[in-house]
Every structure is written in structure tokens, then in C-alpha cells.
């Protein structure tokens, strides 16, 4: 898995590539500075697979953002990946495009 982050004021866009698995998933939290963050966007256009560890990470990020009064968004999610989010019910609690 690879990723890069772009910070624009109180907004961060994190672009991820590859598989989000057990080993790599925690980096997606560690890479983000949540201080005064109002908007967090994960661009999953190049993500083939999101495994359960990745799901946990997105749930944690969502909890932190909700607690801070910010927003989190997952964009460009592939249909096969989105299906995984649907199965665990995350489409109800997350903004997924």
C-alpha cells in the first residue's frame, strides 16, 4: 500500500493506492494530524482491496472526526470495495462516494 497526503488549511486529502491490509492500515491514521482538522478526505480510486483492518481504521477515523465536529469522506471508491463497506453497514455511517 502507498499513500500521500495534501493539506489545505483545515482540510486533508489522503490518496491511497494498493491493498489496505492488516500491516499497512494503521499508517492511514498515523499519517493524519487531527488537530483542528475540519475535513478529512480519503481518495480510494486506486485501492483494489480494503480488508477488515482497513475498515477498522476508517471507523476510528470517523469516530475522531465526529468527536471533533469535522467531516470525513471516502471518494472514488471502487464498486467491489464499496460492496465490502455495505456488508458491514458502514455506508450508513460514512460519507462514501
Amino acid at each position: 500500500m502507498e499513500y500521500k497526503t495534501e493539506k489545505d488549511g483545515d482540510k486533508i486529502v489522503c490518496t491511497v493506492m494498493g491493498r489496505i491490509d492488516t500491516n499497512s492500515a494503521p499508517q492511514l491514521l498515523e499519517a493524519i494530524d487531527f488537530t483542528d482538522l475540519k475535513e478529512l478526505v480519503y481518495n480510494l480510486a486506486d485501492v483494489d482491496y480494503v480488508f477488515s483492518a482497513g475498515l477498522r481504521i476508517f471507523l476510528q477515523a470517523q469516530k475522531v472526526m465526529s468527536a471533533n465536529g469535522g467531516k470525513m469522506k471516502l471518494i472514488n471508491v471502487q464498486p467491489s470495495v464499496k460492496e465490502i463497506f455495505e456488508i458491514v453497514g458502514f455506508t450508513n455511517i460514512m460519507d462514501i462516494e
Partner: protein, 778 residues
Amino acid sequence: MFLRSRNWFRRQSLTFRIGASISVCVFLGVVWLWSFLSMHSRPIIKAHMEGLASRPLQDAVADLETAGWETESAALTIKNTLKELSSTDVNMMKHLLHSAMQTLIHDESDAAHAWVYVFENEDVSVGTMYSAVMEEDNFQFKTTQVTDFYKLYPWFKAVPKEENVFWSEPYIAESFDEKAPVVTCLIPFKFQGSDKFDGLVAVSMNLEVIRNDISKFEKDSIGKFWVISPKGQFIIHPNEKLQNTTTIQKIAEGKGGGMLQQAYRDLQQKKAGSIEIPVSTVYDSSVMVLYAPVKDLGWGVGFVCSKKEFEEPLRDLQLKIVSFMLIWLIVLLLIINLICRRSVKPLLDLSKVALEYGRGNFEAELPENISHDEIGVMNDAFHRMRKNLLQHIDLVRKAASEQQRTQSELEIAQQIQQSALPVEFPMHGEVEVYARMTAAKMVGGDFYDFFFVDDKHLAVVIADVSGKGIPAALYMMNAKALIRNTAKTGVSVSEVFARVNNELCHGGANLFVTVFMAILNIETGELSYVNAGHNPPYYFDKNGYKMLSVKTNIVLGGLENISFTEERMQMKAGERLFLYTDGVNEAQNCNGDFYGNERLTAILNTELQSSYDVLSVVQDDVAAFTQGAEQSDDMTMLEMLYCAMPKNALTVKADVIYIDKVLNYVERDLIKHKLPQSVQTKLMVATEEIFSNIAQYAYRTHGLVRMYTYVNDGEYHICFADNGIFYNPKKRPTPDLNKSVEEMDIGGLGIYLVKELTDNIVYRRDNGRNILDVGVKI
């Protein structure tokens, strides 16, 4: 009781015991001295008192005798004159009496007055009394008609029948103006020519006068007098109240009266003597009484002396001596105490030092030895003891450290030996090998080994070197290396043994090794093996564990240039080979019983676990049998399981770092089968989840995961197998997904995902392995 007090005494300090002993001796000496003085002083006192008392007594007796004699002489004179008269002539009588009284007064006699009584007729109670009294040199004469003489003198009982002198008992004379205590000397008389007694001549003695005389003798003497009448009445007594009122017999009724009665009896028999009376009416102390009779009067005189005056100085002396001795005893005790303390102190010092030595502190300084007495000898002995002990301890210490060094060397040897054994058990897809060696306390010669000769051939070895200790360990290391190196040249098992045997025989050591070695072709399952004097192995097939019938060759290292018989057999999937050393079947319990092959066969067939578990189960069973008896030999076991897995199988270590390897393996296979993206995603997610789950939870330390894929009945399957702890993912609860972000739990999602993504999940526990098979419709 005596024993107990003796034991108590023995427990006391030396000072106390010596002091107490000497005190008792001195005390007994004082008591003896006291008794001795008391006993021996008594006769001395008595003699002394008798000497002092006899003179006044003799004087008193003489005085009384004189008084009696004078009174009696006066009476006799009158009687003799009357004897010459023929009739009663009053003038004559008056003259007679006057002259008699004058004589008495002239002679300073004690006589008080005299009278003559003339009977009227035969009746003696009626008569005429002629009496005379001298009062201050005036002579008075009186004539009295007596009508009842006995009333006047009641003590006068009868008319004497003979012309004897008769002395009256003391009485108060009332025939005068002044009453006076008197005793009267009576003599009957006859007128001339008369043949019967015509009257009595009486001369009285004034007892007051006698008392005065006697009291003179008491002056300057050591005692006081008493005088008794013949009937025992006190005529004179120091206590005037007793005079004329009390008899000696009455006093004798009191305490100590026996002696007094004795004195009275002696006096009646006119005998003198002395008595001692503890209680006296005269003195408030014990007294000595010397007594003597006054012969004519029939009286007795007693001289009472207080012993107190004589005994007191002696008692003072005794007290002084005893006090002096007691003071001396105290001084003696102080001196003994001082000496004992001085003598005992070095002993106490020595005992302190001895205690320190006992604690192992040999630095404790012994007291300076200055004396040459017994304690000095002991001190010297302590010096020598300390020196010898230190030398001895030094020797023991050296020996102990030598032994410790040897022991630690042996332990290191054991560690090296253990570390030479492979512990990474291969799970090669086609074959699994497990082994363990439990070394006995001593370094032994057991070993096992397994290694790939090439890509297809796995060799397993179990061996037992004869003997124990360092030589056996060295021999074992050599044998193990030779076998491994020779086998890796690719020759047959029998050839390996032939070469190794010759090498070992060249070594020259008088040791040998029993070896069983097998080489398995993991692709075909062909097994070739040789047994060189080792225990025949067990073989597991569909009928369970059975001892394998193998041809036994000679041990390695015994005889040079030997050829070994090699045997072959075909292993099928799931079959096992179990190797062991005699440490297993010959394990002994406390009663000396062997564990034996029957028990081994039984336990192997009761528990069908994974190979690793089989070894544990056998070891636990042996331990339960030996019940803590010390393990006498190394216990070594090895099991090889032939799996004959599909060719596409993947075996990886159960670790998340291998997750990419696993995912790539699955992805490649999925692409090969040209499955749609959605199916691919499902299987990839399921694979990632199942593998990371096994990697994180199945093993405590490390283990392997084996997986393979297959297509069956329109479903694509992935099968996972691990030797980890029992875990059935199907039994996990389904998480509640209708929760808000805050409430949603992170755990349990993965397994839920697997269940949702796959169409078919099968879990089974097989031979100690978790086998999970997931299938997705294609």
C-alpha cells in the same frame, strides 16, 4: 523431687554453685559450733552454779540447825528441871520458864516464847498452861486454865507415847498479844515418880526471826531460799504470799513439777541434791535448785538460782561467735564471687568466640592468653582449633569450587549438545517432523536429527551413544556430524552407515552408538531405512500404531567394514513413523518397574493427536508412570508425518509479515481461474481475514499455516490448516451493525465479513489441527 532440684542446681552458674556450697558448709559449721558450745557449756555452768550455791545453802542449813538445836535445848532444859519436881508449883514453874527464856535470849536464840502445859488428869485436853514471853527484855508470865487444848493447838493430834522431841508444823501463835508465825518444839515430861506423862514442854521459834536470818544469807549470793516443813509447807519462800499457805506439792503440780517432787522426796529421805526447772515461780527464767535437809527439824532448804545470769554471758559469746562467722561468710562469698568471676570471665569470652566461630566468623579475636591455668590450656586449644578449621574450610571450599566448575562445564556441555539438535520442525507441505529430547541429569548420548538431503529427500535419525558424561557427548556430536555430512553426499542409508561405522571405529574410543535412520522421498512417499542396533520404531497407518518389524544390524562403531541391510516401504498420506530411544520404554519408577513397550503401544493408540501432541502425550504418560523417580537416561522421540499434499499447496509461517505472500498466492490462482472481480474481492478479503487471524491468535510462539485452493461443484475453495489452539470462527457472535459511529464496536467485524462474503464455510478439528475451508460460488 531431689533429682529435679539437683538438675536445677547443675544448671546454675559456677559462681552460684560454689557460693551456695560454701554457704551451706559454713552454715552447718555455725550450727554445729552453736550446739557444741551449748552442750559443753551446760555442765560447766552447772558445776559453777553448784559451787557458788553450795556455800550459802550450807550456811542456811547450819543456821536453821543451830536455831532448832537451841530451841530444842531450851525445851530439854525445862523438861529436865521439871523431871526433878514432884508437884506442880506455880512459882517454880514461873522461875523455870524465866530462866529458860533468859538463857534463850542470852544465847540470841530464835525462840520466841515457851510454855509448859500440865494435864489435869487423864484427859489431856484439860489442864493448866504456864506460858512466858519475852517482849523487849520484859518477862511476862501467864497462867491459863485450858479446857480444850486441841482447839487451841489443832495440829497437836495425840499425846506422845515416848519422851521424844516433837516439832510442830508452822502455825500462827495466838496465845500472845501479837500474833506471830512460829514452829514449836514439844517434849512430853513426867514429874518425879510419875509413871505417865504429866504434861508438855513447848518452846516456840519465831519464824520471822528465822526469815531475817535466812535473808541475810541471800545477800551477796546468787539465789534465793525457800524452806519447807516436813509436810512440805513453805516456811520461807521468796514470794511471801506463798509462805504458810502453799505446799511444795501444790507447786509441783505445775509445769516442771516432776523435778520438784523429786526434790521433796529426797528431802523427806534427808538427802541433798540439785534439780533444774525450766519454769520457776521465783525467776522468770529457768532455774537451778540446790536443796539440803535440816536434819533435826525435818525441814528442807532450797536455794533457787537463776540460770539466766550464767547462761547470758555464754549466749552473748555464742552470738558474737556466730555473728562473726556469718560476717566472715559474707566476706567469703564476696571473695568467692570475685574469684569465680575472674576465673569464669575468660570462659564466657571463649564461649562468645565459639559462638562466632559457629556462625562462620573466624575473624573473632580470641582473648589474650595470659594465664597458664586450665582456661589457658583451653584458650590454646581454641587457637589450634581455629587454625585447623580455617585450613579445613579452605580445603573444602577449593574442593567445592572444583566440583562446581566441573558441574557447570557439564551443564554447558549439555546445552551445547541440546543446541546441536534441530528445533525448526519442517512443515513442508508433504511432510511434518516433530522431535524432542529430555536430557537426564548427567550428560547423555541421545540425539535426533532431520535434514533434507536434497529437494525431495528428507532424512530422519535417532541414536543413542553408549555411556554417559563428556565422552558420550563428544562421541554423539561426532556421530551426528558424520551421519549428516555423509548422508548429504546423496548415498543410500546403508552406505551412510557403512562409512560412518568405519570412521567411528577409527576413532579408537571404546564407545558405540545405536542408530535408526530413514530417508523419505517426499514426492513418492518411498521410505528407505536401516536399523543399527536401535529400538524398532512404531508405524502408524489406518490400523493405528504398530511396532515396525525391522531387520537389526550391528551398532555403529563396534566393528569395522560391516555392510548394513537396508529396507524399503511405501508411505501413504497420513501415515506416520515414530522413533524413540530406550529412555522411553526403559524409564523406571520408584519400584524399579520399566515403562515398557506395552504401555507405549497403549498410549500411542489412545490419543490420536498431531505429531507434536503425540510426543507430549507420551512424555506426560512416562512422567505419570515414574512418579518423580529421578530420570536415569535421556528420553528422545521423533515423529514424521507424511501428508502427500496437493502440488499447489502453500506453507508459510503464521506471521502477518507474510500476508503479501499469501494474498499474492491467492490472487495469482484467482487470475488463473479467470474469476470476476467481485468474486476475487470476496476471496481476497476472506483470505486476508482468516490468515491474519491465525497469525495473531493460533500459536503462542510460532507455527505454520498450510493452504491450498481447489474448484469443486461450481465453487472455488480455499483450505487453511494450522496446528494452533482450537478455534472455530463459525461460533463467533454476529456484531450489531445498526449502530451509530460512536457505538459501533471495532472487534468481530472480520469474521462477520468472511461469513457474509463466502457461500460455504466448513470447520473441523483433525489430529490436533484446525482445518477451515471456505467456498464461493463462481
